[in-house]
Chain length 205, copies 2
């Protein structure tokens, strides 16, 4: 059995050999800078200081790298959402926590997020479906919190919950195009400001 096949399950469990980690780090950086198609496998192995043989020993294909990048990001974000939802706070506090967490994790993984946003559509149909399902789960969980707040009367009823969700998740998905780690505002503050603005649009008269 080659490591490439075995690797899928091992990596799915979050375990990475040092060589795999180096390859992933190099791939994410290069894909973010130059795009997936604009980056050659040779550039990745050079940057990771390994050889093509090693890369294809651990990964099945170039596409495989793309999927792993998505996977490492979505796993973190869904875990955050589940943790926050499970805490069982009120709608306002939950929305705030969700937005702040999303902004912080996205900022901490800007390269992954940038690659994901730009190249998601290049995934094979099957993997694409898995991605879409995860995204929709997040989207619906968020909208559910907004709807609950509206039913309970802690949020204004007028803005369609769907629109609020689109706006909130929209900024976050767009974040890689303007966020700079060395910018003046730390991610936590950015998240808080965005959350405040979203909640301001929801506060009852």
């Amino acid at each position: 059995m080659t490591r490439a096949a075995e690797g899928r399950t091992r990596r799915a469990a979050g375990e990475l050999t040092p060589v795999e980690a180096r390859i992933m780090r190099a791939a994410v950086r290069l894909f973010a800078e130059q795009g997936f198609d604009g980056t050659t496998v040779q550039q990745v192995v050079d940057a990771a200081e390994v050889t093509k043989g090693a890369l294809y020993h651990y990964f099945e294909s170039k596409d495989d790298l793309l999927y792993e990048i998505y996977h490492s990001l979505i796993a973190i974000q869904l875990a955050g959402a589940e943790r926050i939802l499970a805490a069982g706070a009120g709608p306002a506090e939950t929305v705030r926590a969700l937005v702040v967490d999303l902004v912080e994790t996205t900022a901490a993984h800007v390269d992954e997020a940038a690659v994901f946003g730009r190249e998601m559509h290049k995934l094979a149909a099957e993997r694409m479906a898995a991605v879409r399902a995860d995204r929709r789960r997040y989207h619906e969980a968020f909208r559910g919190v907004v709807e609950r707040g509206q039913r309970e009367g802690v949020f204004r009823a007028e803005p369609p919950a769907e629109t609020v969700t689109l706006v909130a998740l929209g900024v976050v998905n767009q974040l890689p195009s303007w966020y700079r780690p060395d910018g003046p505002k730390p991610p936590g503050q950015l998240g808080a400001e965005i959350a405040d603005f979203v909640l301001a649009g929801l506060r009852p008269d």
Copy 2:
């Protein structure tokens, strides 16, 4: 002089020969579906029912097509912004008109917007600079309106104008990833709902 060189100025003035228009339409659709690098020049010419010779007669390179796509979109959007700003309405009405116009033009040119968002970074340095400058102009014009409303007291002072701008333009830029022309809500309504929500976040207590 080849048409490819002449074409730059002629196309900049908004004039397109029928052949150029066919090529552009095919290119936009294919780039939106498969990405820029994922689309071959041969596919474009086949879809446009012309030959490679014709394409390279009218365009200098594949990159040229990308730039023309951007150009046709940004020209419309900046024109809309200037028209609205020139109308001289109050901050609230101006913000609303800006958002609605942006959503409507983006929806009317989803393919262009999708390609632009994903492949902008592939532009050559010089053209990239021109793009960035235009985007910043739009961004700053929008923020300026928000700041004016805050100074005049018609908007709440708390949300940083920069954050409001990031949120408003963020949804619009993200629109190609979820908007479907055959969806239940027409673009005008979508724009109105988003504008309402943004203005709700700005309305004074």
